[in-house]
Symmetry: C2
Subunit: 111 residues, 2 copies
């Protein structure tokens, strides 16, 4: 079926999270909600991801009290995270370009 849609996301979720955080700090539930709308991501998926990214030094965290539930754990991009975003972004661009070249072999004419 379209269960391979799941596979497409591998690695890209991290990139998307980095991109979101580059705009402004955010907390897990919010990130999950937004990405769940854009591409189809379950809420439970975000927390292991964020933990990994923190372990890898891409993000740092701080808590903010909330009047509607438990305190929110905000994530902020680190320097390394910002650099990583750029690297991954161009890697992704290159990759999709290469794939597009394979998919649309017909157009592959000009240099």
């Amino acid at each position: 079926m379209d269960s391979n849609l799941v596979q497409f996301k591998k690695g890209v979720l991290e990139l998307c999270v980095l991109a979101l955080l580059a705009r402004s700090d955010s907390y897990g539930y919010d990130i999950a909600s937004r990405l769940s709308a854009a591409i189809d991501m379950g809420e439970g998926t975000i927390y292991p991801l964020m933990r990994r990214m923190q372990k890898d030094g891409l993000v740092s965290t701080y808590l903010v009290e909330s009047s509607s539930g438990p305190p929110r754990k905000y994530y902020r991009l680190t320097e390394g995270g910002r650099k990583n975003l750029n690297d991954q972004k161009s890697a992704w661009t290159d990759f999709t370009r290469a794939v597009a070249a394979i998919l649309d072999l017909d157009l592959e004419k000009t240099s």
Copy 2:
């Protein structure tokens, strides 16, 4: 590092193989060589993939003698394979578009 490049490939390799076979029948080693050049795919990856695709009825096979090594196992797209190619291709297009929208939030203007 760029080890996440590995993750980007998840699921997409199958799509690429389908696209190659849509042009003409081919055998494992040849497919692997070409995809290894385009995106960076290891040879050992192709055989489990082809087996899976055959099990899923996307390709059929036939042997052709070769004067330079063991007989080549050619793969041909089935009807289902061709349909699957179209489905996956549009799924991939949609997905990359969604990701691009997240990455380039700034440009996101005209519908």
